[in-house]
């Protein structure tokens, strides 16, 4: 059992949780994730670790309420408990000194980008961050991102904050202005990560993407999270989650993420009927 010790709404449907997990708080490194399960009948879902406070013994997760489990998680209150929490899982992001590392994030990936930005900076890199969302009210943790990164570039699709457009527009401008990063790191929705990879490929900018397939056990046992990278099948849980974005078959990843769309709808209908 892991107690929720802090809860903060960040945007519509996006919530930050601080959860008691002393062991994970002590050990976690940037890029790693946890698997959690809310109750005895619950599903196991992976969530990227956003932060931790080893002294307080807590970890930070940011949850976007999109599926049945994340919606129920978002409804939990401070003081309530999460039944199962396992981690830290996955390889840490392979940070090293390269020069300039552009971290590009979209949606809830903005939160997940935080530890990675800190880690790349900690390894001696200059780290500009490019963060985008549909509109200003969905841009989260901008102050924390501004503090963590060397520079923060914001954009929204509707132009309500920062530049109007997509993160790739900002990255393209950055490259065209001659500030070519030594590595790009993409974290967020699959179409965004794919767009970043497509943009950096012709420039030969090495690019990593933090992949987010469906998982069950998260320890290599089931193969649910398999992704094709450079024509080879990898398990994101034990081989990743970071992979060479230029080699990733994003189309397949997107397809596999949607494997249970019909079942998810069924679950939501069932839930709604229960609420009545």
């Amino acid at each position: 059992m892991n107690r929720i010790v802090g809860k903060l709404p960040l945007a519509d449907g996006v919530t930050l949780f601080r959860i008691e997990a002393p062991e994970i708080a002590r050990r976690r490194r940037a890029g790693q994730f946890v698997i959690l399960r809310l109750d005895a009948e619950g599903e196991r879902i992976p969530l990227t670790l956003v932060d931790s406070d080893p002294e307080a013994g807590s970890i930070t997760l940011v949850v976007q309420a999109v599926g049945a489990t994340t919606k129920r998680l978002a409804a939990l209150r401070e003081g309530e408990e999460i039944r199962d929490l396992a981690g830290p899982l996955g390889h840490p992001t392979p940070v090293r000194e390269l020069g300039t590392v552009a971290v590009v994030a979209g949606g809830v990936g903005a939160a997940e980008a935080l530890p990675v930005i800190k880690a790349w900076r900690g390894a001696g890199n200059r780290v500009p961050a490019i963060v985008g969302a549909r509109s200003a009210d969905l841009l989260i943790l901008t102050e924390e991102l501004r503090t963590a990164a060397d520079e923060l570039h914001l954009c929204t699709e509707d132009g309500s904050l920062g530049k109007r457009g997509l993160v790739t527009d900002l990255l393209r401008t950055m490259i065209n202005d001659g500030a070519v990063p030594d590595l790009a790191y993409a974290i967020g929705p699959v179409p965004m990560m794919k767009a970043v990879a497509d943009l950096t490929r012709p420039y030969g900018i090495p690019t990593l993407a933090s992949l987010n397939p469906i998982m069950v056990d998260g320890t290599g046992m089931c193969g649910c999270c398999r992704v094709t990278v450079g024509g080879t099948v990898k398990f994101a849980c034990v081989d990743g989650p970071d992979f060479d974005a230029h080699q990733v078959d994003f189309g397949e990843l997107r397809q596999r993420q949607g494997a249970y769309r019909e079942e998810e709808r069924e679950a939501e209908t069932a839930e709604r009927e229960e609420d009545r």
Partner: protein, 463 residues
């Protein structure tokens, strides 16, 4: 009345009924049936059956107690060497082990040792939770990584020897493959939970949701005060065939398919949170027990046609005869000498068909079985909206990856001395599928038992 030379048949649920649910198929012996079967045992002084038992059960001893009406004494005798009799009585391939050496087997059917073991385990009083959970005569503590058959056996034996044992399990429920892999119609979860409860009563501590090899390492365990470590982290890394279309939705590894159903309760979705895709035409690739489990699970989830696709012939099927029989009775179809070559999907990425090649058998290969050879131009396509790939597992990579100096073999198995489970690192022992590659529950248990003995020797030498 049973004819001489013929064993007492165990009653089973009728095939037509059992396909509708996940209840256990073989129903177990009544006391009368057990008594009659026990009476067949010749009580051979040399007890050849015992050489076939990796966990060293006194087989004639417990059978004699059944004959004497002393069921409590019988199960107590088994428990002296075996921590999981209710499991072994159900899933051990006894025909390859104890029963293979039974003298009666020369002229008729061997004594049904497994069925009798199950009988005693099922008659045993349910475990009551004890408050303190055992006492430890030794000051040494031992860590066990993984709560599958190898780990639980090592833990049970070490606890019996007086060591404080903590078992670390990555998942939210203990049991390893016995919980996520073996379906309830062969091993009901309550039966497994009862065995685990007994281990806890013996003082074994369980730490769930703890992934050794991810974040925390073996060094951390030694730093935390453990004097020896047993690694039984299993063969948890499913193999695929690397053929086109294998990543389409609706193509599962057997591990994932069975985990969703057995561990996560997906048959009851959306009452539970984990869904599983259903299929009308299900193809199960492989011929082992896991393939049989997957095929029978698919039937229970409402499939119209379930085909086991196997590249060799019936004679080479590695699954137990009983399980093949159960699958056939329930309507599973077998496509022998057939090799899937690619999966074909629809525009939404869901598998719809599987293309296969016909095979013929050639000369014997390294396994001694005749090698299957594709027949050129024999491609054909089967409807298949759900496929389960049950072609084996590689060892789980987490512990070896995070443990410098731990020697591994070419396939990623941890290298051990098979007699003791000793690894290349002092105080670190391993056994079960992580060391042997994928094998059976009972072989893993045997490895756990040998390692427990070696750990005891190791710790005695340190005293």
């Amino acid at each position: 009345m049973t004819a001489p030379g013929t064993r007492e048949r165990m009653a089973e649920l009728p095939a037509a009924e059992r396909k509708k649910h996940f209840r256990e198929v073989p129903l177990g012996y009544s006391p009368e049936e057990a008594g009659r079967e026990a009476a067949r045992c010749l009580q051979c002084p040399k007890a050849p059956c015992r050489q076939g038992c990796p966990v060293e059960i006194d087989i004639p001893g417990f059978i004699r107690r059944i004959r004497e009406g002393d069921d409590a004494g019988g199960i107590a005798l088994i428990r002296e060497t075996n921590s999981l009799p209710a499991v072994c009585g159900r899933v051990c391939p006894q025909e390859e082990q104890c029963e293979k050496f039974c003298v009666l087997g020369k002229k008729g059917e061997p004594v049904a040792v497994g069925a009798l073991e199950r009988y005693l385990a099922d008659r045993e009083e349910a475990p009551r939770r004890t408050a303190d959970g055992g006492s430890f005569s030794s000051s040494f503590r031992v860590a066990v990584v993984g709560s599958g058959p190898a780990g639980l056996t090592a833990a049970g034996d070490l606890a019996r020897l007086g060591y404080g044992v903590t078992v670390f399990e990555a998942l939210h429920a203990p049991g390893g493959v016995m919980g996520y892999g073996i379906p309830a119609f062969r091993l009901p979860r309550e039966i497994l939970d009862r065995e685990i409860e007994r281990l806890k009563n013996r003082g074994v501590r369980l730490e769930l949701n703890t992934v050794i090899g991810a974040g925390s390492s073996l060094d951390d365990l030694f730093r935390a005060g453990f004097s020896a470590v047993f690694i039984g982290s299993g063969a948890g890394l499913p193999r695929f065939m690397n053929i086109p279309g294998e990543n389409l939705n609706g193509v599962y590894s057997a591990n994932e398919y069975l985990t969703r159903v057995n561990l996560m309760g997906a048959a009851r979705f959306p009452e539970t949170g984990t869904p599983v895709l259903r299929g009308h035409d299900v193809g199960v690739v492989g011929g082992g027990n896991v393939a049989m489990d997957s095929a029978r699970t698919a039937l229970r989830l409402g499939a119209e046609r379930v085909s086991v696709i196997y590249r060799r012939s019936r004679e080479e099927l590695p699954a137990r005869r009983d399980e093949i029989g159960h699958a056939e009775e329930e309507g599973v179809r077998f496509l022998f000498l057939t090799l899937p070559t690619r999966y074909l999907g629809d525009e939404r990425g869901r598998v719809r068909e599987v293309e296969c090649l016909r095979m013929e058998l050639g000369e014997p290969d390294s396994s001694g079985r005749r090698r299957p050879i594709p027949i050129p131009g024999s491609e054909f396509v089967l409807p298949c909206d759900l496929a389960v790939v049950a072609v084996g597992n590689d060892p789980n990579p987490l512990v070896p990856r995070l443990t410098p100096g731990l020697e591994t073999g070419p396939r990623g198995t941890i290298t051990i001395d098979p007699e003791t489970g000793k690894t290349s690192l002092p105080g670190v022992f391993a056994g079960g599928d992580i060391a042997s590659g994928a094998a059976t529950v009972i072989e893993a248990m045997g490895a756990g038992k040998r390692a427990a003995r070696a750990i005891d020797d190791f710790l005695r030498a340190r005293r």
